[in-house]
């Protein structure tokens, strides 16, 4: 069966969909666009879709992925165009590409993601120093109130940066996904605690998902990106 990889973005109001709601919305969009989806066998056949790592409720994603198994080859340009007509405007399909047989699935491929937190204006905390301090100390740990579970935050952070855009402040994180991942909410609570600002998932955008290997970032479509 031919396999395809769909890259899409969710933004605006669609950020507030849960992963499950997003999966259903996308699946129905694919059905409306008459994609020749391959279905599983048995009493309860389901389309063979494989979603990339989930995004939390409220978080935007610019380059998210689904792998689709189809019954036949398709004209990707036509289907991409048709899909975009039949998806809610806050979900956009960026690209659709054939995946060679035997290629690694999204779960095995992706091991990190880049997240951008929009801190906004008027927050006086010295984030640069704070992040620097965290790196130096080497072991930020966070005990979640409620269940008391302890997370090693610094272990999950591969890299962090502070950006300014005029008065607006952003913090960028390259975080582990899959192995060594911590819930984004934990990182936000931790930073809120340290920086004295209330950071919510709705301030976060995941800008990309990658495979990090030997200092090199590779996205699931095979494009390389410099770690620095």
């Amino acid at each position: 069966m031919p396999g395809y990889r769909l890259q899409y973005a969710k933004s605006g109001s669609s950020c507030f969909l849960s992963h499950r709601e997003l999966m259903t919305t996308l699946q129905r969009g694919l059905r409306r666009a008459s994609f020749p989806l391959t279905y599983s066998k048995g009493y309860n056949p389901r389309p063979k879709l494989s979603f990339g790592p989930p995004l939390g409720v409220g978080v935007a994603g610019l380059q998210e992925y689904i792998d689709l198994e189809l019954d036949q080859d398709i004209n990707t340009e036509e289907y991409l165009h048709s899909l975009n007509r039949l998806l809610p405007p806050s979900i956009r399909a960026n690209s659709l590409t054939a995946v060679p047989a035997g290629a690694k699935g999204l779960g095995k491929l992706i091991n990190c993601g880049h997240y951008l937190i929009d801190i906004g204006e008027g927050n006086d905390a010295d984030w640069e120093q704070l992040l620097q301090c965290g790196e130096n100390e080497g072991a930020w740990s966070y005990e979640r109130p409620g269940d008391g579970k302890v997370y090693n935050v610094s272990d999950a952070i591969i890299k962090s940066d502070v950006y300014h855009e005029g008065e607006r402040l952003y913090i960028g994180f390259l975080l582990k996904v899959g192995n060594g991942e911590i819930p984004l909410r934990v990182l936000l609570d931790f930073l809120s605690d340290k920086g004295g600002a209330v950071l919510l998932p709705s301030m976060v955008t995941r800008t990309g998902l990658y495979h990090l290997d030997k200092g090199c970032l590779l996205d699931p479509l095979g494009k390389r990106k410099n770690l620095n």
Partner: protein, 612 residues
């Protein structure tokens, strides 16, 4: 814009399932607010997941929005966390599509599907910043109307609703909006009083303030009818049906496309209000249904299509419809479901042919003995049930759900024992047939009988709750022996339901007290606050136990008699008498039962095939 900003930045990040409040569903109507002269909000007094599963919403939403000059947007009851955020941020309850305050609409229409949603009506008005008492609303406030099955006894809600629409809304809703447009003219808002003066001319409209306070309610307004006759669509095939329905964003109770096979039911079960108030049976043509089904799947992407009606296997065009429909569904990989199965092997065998999931078969014998099934006119026998279960086993199902009702009129201990016997036989059959395979799972759900207005059992009281408790416990002990799972419906909520279902205006005061004591979302076990309800009854001076259990005589004045459902009182009396004599009435597809609907409402039974 202000609401939108606060919603996205402050409120939605704080609440569970924010997708309930986005309003960006596929097929949602986003119209230019300023360019549309008349705007109506459809207010569903329950959570999003319940309201989005409701066919009536989809029909009226599609119908009104198909008109260029009208707009309909939705509002659901917010979940408790959302209510807290709205009150905290002082954001009024808004419509989902354009996030406009409900206050800005010309008309707000509530659908009354179930009595335990009534506190949500008051809460939604309150959250919208609109006084929930009719008398306290100004002339420049939106017109508040209500319809749906629970409006057939409107009395408990009369202090809060300006006008009720009795019966089917497809034609009447446009007549109402036409009138709003005319009265509104070029002004910003139609005067509510002027509107009511004109609305009284629309058939099916009940305006409580135009009637005397005391019973029998007499018209005080010269043009108000003595009794308000239920609206019925004559030919369903000419009626609007949505083929681009809304696709839920947050998971709804039912996630599926719907085609409506027919309205009404000919079976005549004597406890069933729907069976009385949706008469006569009007079937749609198979070819129309096929075309609708195809469009719905194409326009929504739903994974399942459901054939909706009160008793889907009674559809006379099934033999013609099903093979083509099943073929179409197989091509588009769409599951097909029949939610209302009859208790017979034919039904189960037909269901076997449907593509899609095979989880469990639900059968509703309702009563445990033949005597009691005759009393309620449920025309099934023990043999029917056992054959149906056998057919289900042969077809590969391994779970059966059996629905019964406890507390039915004339019920005796033997009838409860009959339920247990029947369940034991089903379990035994399952064991015998399942050799080597997975054993049949049998689940028994027992609800509590609630007497409803406009049914032959409207004169009957509900059993006292201590007796109901005893009956349920007894039944549970009996059923435990056969190792079937036993679920029963909360007796306390059934008692409150009974108080409203046959309640008079005095129940309005109880409702208001309950709302003020924080009662909300009463149909959800986790939110139901029985103590607050008991206190509310006490303040008003009504003993709910007496109120729910009271029996009426045939010549007693009933609070809902101002409503004429089309079924005559003589028919209801004769059905009640037949029930007491344990005599059945045959299906009116075969012989006209002379209920009076066709002659009084000027309609006829319409079957796709055969008589009609």
């Amino acid at each position: 814009m202000e609401i939108e900003r606060v919603l996205l930045e402050k409120i939605l990040p704080q609440v569970q399932k924010p997708a309930r409040y986005l309003g960006t569903e596929w097929n949602a109507a986003h119209k230019n607010w300023d360019a549309v002269p008349v705007r109506m909000a459809f207010a569903f007094p329950d959570l999003y997941e319940v309201g989005m599963s409701h066919l009536g919403l989809q029909i009226l939403y599609g119908l009104v929005n198909s008109r260029e000059d009208y707009l309909m947007e939705r509002a659901f009851t917010p979940a408790p966390d959302m209510e807290r955020e709205l009150r905290k941020t002082k954001v009024p309850l808004f419509s989902l599509e354009s996030h406009k305050p409900l206050q800005d609409f010309d008309v707000i229409g509530f659908t009354l599907q179930y009595e335990l949603t009534f506190t949500n009506v008051l809460n939604m008005l309150d959250l919208a910043g609109i006084p929930y008492r009719t008398r306290e609303r100004g002339d420049d406030q939106p017109l508040i109307i209500a319809g749906g099955p629970a409006a057939l006894n409107p009395e408990p809600l009369t202090p809060f609703i300006d006008a009720f629409l009795i019966g089917e809304g497809e034609e009447a809703i446009l007549e109402i909006l036409d009138l709003v447009r005319e009265v509104k003219g070029s002004s910003g808002r139609a005067s509510r009083l002027q509107l009511l003066e004109r609305l009284v001319e629309i058939p099916g409209i009940y305006i409580p303030s135009f009637y005397s306070e005391e019973y029998p309610r007499k018209p005080l307004h010269p043009r108000a009818p003595q009794r308000v006759q239920r609206r019925v669509l004559d030919k369903l095939d000419f009626a609007y049906f949505p083929t681009s329905p809304l696709v839920p964003l947050a998971e709804a109770v039912h996630e599926r496309g719907m085609v409506e096979l027919f309205r009404g039911c000919t079976r005549g079960c004597r406890f069933c209000q729907a069976g009385m108030i949706y008469r006569p049976v009007r079937e749609r043509a198979p070819e129309a249904l096929l075309a609708q089904a195809e469009e719905i799947i194409k326009n929504t992407g739903f994974e399942e299509l459901s054939l909706i009606s009160l008793s889907s296997l009674d559809y006379s065009g099934m033999a013609e419809l099903l093979p083509s429909l099943a073929k179409g569904c197989a091509t588009t990989r769409t599951g097909l479901s029949l939610p209302s199965l009859r208790v017979d092997s034919f039904s189960v065998k037909t269901a076997k042919e449907l593509p899609g999931r095979r989880t469990s078969v639900t059968l509703a014998p309702e009563a445990g003995s033949q005597r009691l099934r005759d009393v309620i006119n449920k025309g099934v026998t023990e043999n029917d049930l056992l054959e149906a279960v056998e057919a289900a086993l042969e077809a590969g199902w391994f779970a059966v759900k059996l629905y019964f009702m406890v507390g039915l009129p004339t019920e005796k201990k033997e009838d409860l024992e009959g339920i247990a016997d029947l369940v034991a036989k089903v379990v035994k059959l399952g064991k015998r047939q399942s050799q080597g395979r997975k054993r049949l799972r049998v689940t028994v759900s027992a609800s509590t009988f609630v007497p409803k207005a406009h049914t032959p059992f409207q004169w009957e009281g509900q059993d006292r709750s201590d007796l109901l408790e005893e009956k349920h416990q007894y039944l549970r002990t009996l059923i435990k022996k056969s190792r079937a799972e036993y679920n029963w419906h909360n007796i306390e909520t059934s008692m409150i339901e009974a108080c409203f279902a046959r309640g008079g205006r005095e129940m309005g005061a109880v409702l208001e007290e309950a709302f003020l004591r924080g009662c909300r979302l009463d149909s959800w076990t986790e939110h139901f606050n029985y103590q607050a309800w008991l206190e509310s009854f006490e303040v008003v001076g009504i003993d709910p136990a007496d109120y729910a259990t009271r029996c009426f005589d045939y010549d007693d004045l009933l609070p809902w008699e101002v409503i004429d459902p089309g079924v005559s009182k003589d028919y209801l009396i004769s059905e009640h008498r037949k029930a007491m004599d344990e005599k059945v009435t045959v299906d009116c597809r075969d012989v006209c039962g002379k209920c009076g609907v066709c002659s009084s409402l000027g309609v006829t039974t319409q079957l796709a095939r055969g008589r009609g």
